[in-house]
Every structure is written in structure tokens, then in C-alpha cells.
Amino acid sequence: MLFTVVKIEILKLRRAPVWIAFFTLPLLAAVMGTFNYLQNISILTKEWYSLWTQHTIFSSFFFLPSLIGVLCAYQWRLEHRENNWNSLMTLPVSAQSIFTGKLIVSAGLVLLTQTLTGALFIACGKYAGLPGAVPSDLPRWLLLGACAGLSIASVQLALSMIVKSFAIPVGIALMGGILGLVMASSGWGLFCPYSLLALGMNANGSGYLTAGDTLPFFVSCAVFTLLPTLFAVWWLKKKDV
């Protein structure tokens, strides 16, 4: 059942321009980040690590969470329009499958974005002529970032399901990003879903996360993914659409 729901969700997004934005953001981050790195190479001395911060610091705090917010709002927008809620709720599909299907599609897109971010980072590093090997931590940063993206998607999907406006959840995501920056800077990043992306991706380059923090990070991601999911399933079962 879940597989069919995911297939249908992908079908709904087939002609939507969401893909373009998700691939544009890492591309712009890579081009502008590399240019900025090359302009300030005398200050940014940590080579691959400095380049990584230039690629990820702004997008992971402010723009990728907001873009995930746009995707989630877009997925629910289809249900909020016309009489689609009535049609959706009369289908022989469980509430769990409805929400999880949208979450899996969001996670897939986040994973693709992370893959592109990684590929562009390597390409830009080679273009900039950085010496040495690509940091061995790169796959870890990307994977942790994807897990964090899943948490943000879960929170945003739950929000967008309740709020009928398309734009409001996007604004909330941006405010979440600012809050995330404050929380991460104060050492409380694991308690805010919007901080997790930058923490996991090591966006400030100095290691927000130590090796010992990896388990709490995964626990935090799991909590911020499961809680909104459970709430959304409860809401779908109990509330009158």
C-alpha cells in the first residue's frame, strides 16, 4: 500500500516545478560559494573544509529548510484545494500511509539534493585546484544532513497539513532556520529540528558535532521525525476534514 501511495505522490509532482528549485539551490550555493572562496583564499585557509563551509553555511540554516517547507506545503496544497480532502479521506488508504507517503517523497528529494551538493562540492574543489583528497567525512556529513532534512520535512508536513495557506508554513520554516542558528550557536542545536541540518552537515566547518554527539543527533532526528508523524496520523484520524 505504502509503495503505491509513494508512486502516486511522485505522479502528483511529475509536472511540478519543485525539482528545479531543489537543484537550483545547491548549484547556486556551489557556484557562489566557490567564487567567494577563491576571492578570500588568504583568509579561508582550511582548503576543502573552508570550501565546504562556503557551500553549506547559508543554505543549511536558512534556505534549504525553507525550500523543504515549500515542497511540503506544495504536497498538501493539492489536498487543500477543491474537495480533495473528502476524496482523500474516503480512499481505502490508511492515515499512516497518506502522511508517510508524502514524507518518503520529501526524503527522496532531500537525498537527491544532498547527493548533488556532494558532487558539486567535489567538482568545485577540483576546479579550485585544492590539494589533497576529498575529506573522508563528506559521506557522513551528507548522510547526517539527509537525516536532518527528514526531520524538518516531517515537522513541515505536519504544519502544512493543518495550515491551509501555502505560504505561511514557508515563513515558519524561515523563522525556524533563524531560531535554529541561535540554538546551534548557544549549544542547544540538538533540541531544535531546524538546527539539525547545519549540525549534521558540519556547516560551520569547526565541528558542531563531535563523534560522541552522533548518537544523540540520531536520537534527536528520530524524535523530530516520529513526533510530527504520530501527531499527523492522530490528526488525520480524529479531525473532521
Binding site: 516545478p17 528549485a21 567567494n36 547559508f58 534556505f63 495557506s165 501555502f166 505560504a167 505561511i168 523563522m175
Partner: protein, 249 residues
């Protein structure tokens, strides 16, 4: 004026002001957080530092806030398939103008609120310099001008496309470009509308890396850049209004 009043009437239960209040409130909290530990040196340049901090924040927050606001203002017509009816009842150009003015009033309130927050902060913390009225006037004008340009650009997109993903994504990407462009030479900044938040600022920062000291200083108002953005605004307004009036709904 009637059309503008109608726009506010449509917005009656939509709480657009809440979007502005929430995002501006978040910016205010940021400033409070930034000034939580403050020394005598920071106090002396408190007003300049506040203006600089808000300018940086504006380049991130205002493009998205503008996109959310404008999208809500325009989506109301798409949702109700109201454009066809409205076009038979009022000159289509006035609808375009009313929406733009309505967004502009909200944006002016947001920038005005920022100045009020800085003044309050200065009063509470006791910033050690006289209130820089001229800086505030220039700040209000420049930040509003840049926001108006973005509002116009996003309004054209939001009215053109039923799918509001497009103006929202454009707002996000414009904000991202604006923030990144601030680390680029001025000629690159001039190509990005949201970079004008920084470009038109009269407060700049000098960071002494060795001593770890940040100094804020005033620079002359960039009249040429302001004129460039104003000219771009006028051209975009003419183009956007004309294409809206001539379109088939």
C-alpha cells in the same frame, strides 16, 4: 483609494499583518540575542551595529517575507477564480496598483518596526551615542525601496502563475543570492535585487582579524545605486502593469 480599501477588506480575516509581526518579531529577538552580552565599545557603536545587523537580516528575511505576503495577496484571486469577475468591475491596472500598495504598506510597517526596536534597544541598553536620525531616515528609505522592488517582481510572478510555488521559490532563491552577493564585489551585488539591502546601507563594518575587533563606520549614501534601483523599479512597474492589464484571464 477605494481599491486599496478593498484590498484591506479582503485581507480582513487573513491576518497578513501576523506574517509581518511574526517575522519582524523574530528579527527583534535576534537583535536582543546579539546584544545579550555587550561591552562599553559595543554600546558606543550600538546604533550603527543594530542598523548593520538588521541590514544583514533583511537580506535573508525580507525577500521571503515579501514572497509570503505577496503570494497570499495574489493567491486570494486565483483561489476564487476572481480575476475574470474583477476585470469586468474595475480597471485591471488599479487592481495591480492596489495589491502593490497594500504590500508596500505592510513592508513599510515592517521596516518602521525595526527602527522602533533599535530605538527601544538603545533606550534600554543605553547606547552611548546620540540618536542618528539621518541614518534612520536613509535606512527606512533604502530598505523599503529594495523591498518594494522585490514585492513588485514577486507580485508579477504571483499574478502570472496560479501555482504559488513559483513566487515563493523565487523569493527564497532571491534571498539566498542577495545574502551570498554581499560577499562579492559591488558590481556583482548590483546584478542581484536583494543585494541592494546591503548595497544601499550607509553603515559598513571593518573587522580587524588580528585584534578581533569589529568597527562600524558610516559611508556616504550610494546615490547612483539608489537611482539605478529606482529606475529598475519604474521600468519593472511599467512592464508588469502593462502585461497584467493586457493579459487574457
Amino acid at each position: 483609494m477605494n481599491m486599496l480599501r478593498l484590498e484591506f477588506y479582503k485581507a480582513r480575516r487573513k491576518h497578513y499583518w501576523l506574517i509581518v509581526a511574526a517575522m519582524s518579531g523574530m528579527q527583534a529577538l535576534w537583535l536582543i540575542w546579539a546584544f545579550r552580552r555587550i561591552d562599553a565599545r559595543d554600546l558606543v557603536q550600538g546604533y550603527l551595529e543594530s542598523l548593520y545587523q538588521f541590514t544583514m537580516l533583511n537580506s535573508i528575511v525580507l525577500p521571503v517575507m515579501t514572497a509570503v505576503l505577496v503570494s497570499r495577496l495574489c493567491d486570494i484571486e486565483h483561489k476564487g477564480s476572481a480575476l475574470k469577475v474583477l476585470f469586468t468591475m474595475q480597471p485591471s491596472g488599479t487592481l495591480f496598483d492596489a495589491k502593490f500598495l497594500c504590500a508596500g504598506i505592510h513592508l513599510a510597517a515592517a521596516v518602521g518596526f525595526q527602527i522602533a526596536v533599535i530605538l527601544l534597544m538603545g533606550h534600554v541598553k543605553g547606547f552611548g551615542s546620540p540618536t542618528p536620525t539621518a541614518d534612520f531616515v536613509l535606512y527606512f528609505g533604502s530598505q523599503l525601496l529594495c523591498s518594494l522592488f522585490l514585492a513588485l517582481f514577486l507580485q508579477i510572478l504571483a499574478l502570472r502563475h496560479v501555482n504559488q510555488f513559483i513566487p515563493l521559490a523565487a523569493g527564497l532563491i532571491t534571498g539566498f543570492l542577495g545574502l551570498m552577493a554581499m560577499f562579492f564585489p559591488a558590481w556583482v551585488m548590483r546584478l542581484v535585487p536583494s543585494a541592494y539591502y546591503g548595497l544601499l546601507s550607509t553603515v559598513h563594518m571593518d573587522w580587524d582579524r588580528a585584534a578581533g575587533i569589529v568597527t562600524y563606520y558610516r559611508a556616504p549614501f550610494p546615490v547612483a545605486d539608489c537611482a539605478l534601483l529606482t529606475a529598475a523599479l519604474v521600468i519593472l512597474y511599467w512592464f508588469g502593469r502593462k502585461s497584467f492589464v493586457k493579459r487574457e484571464v
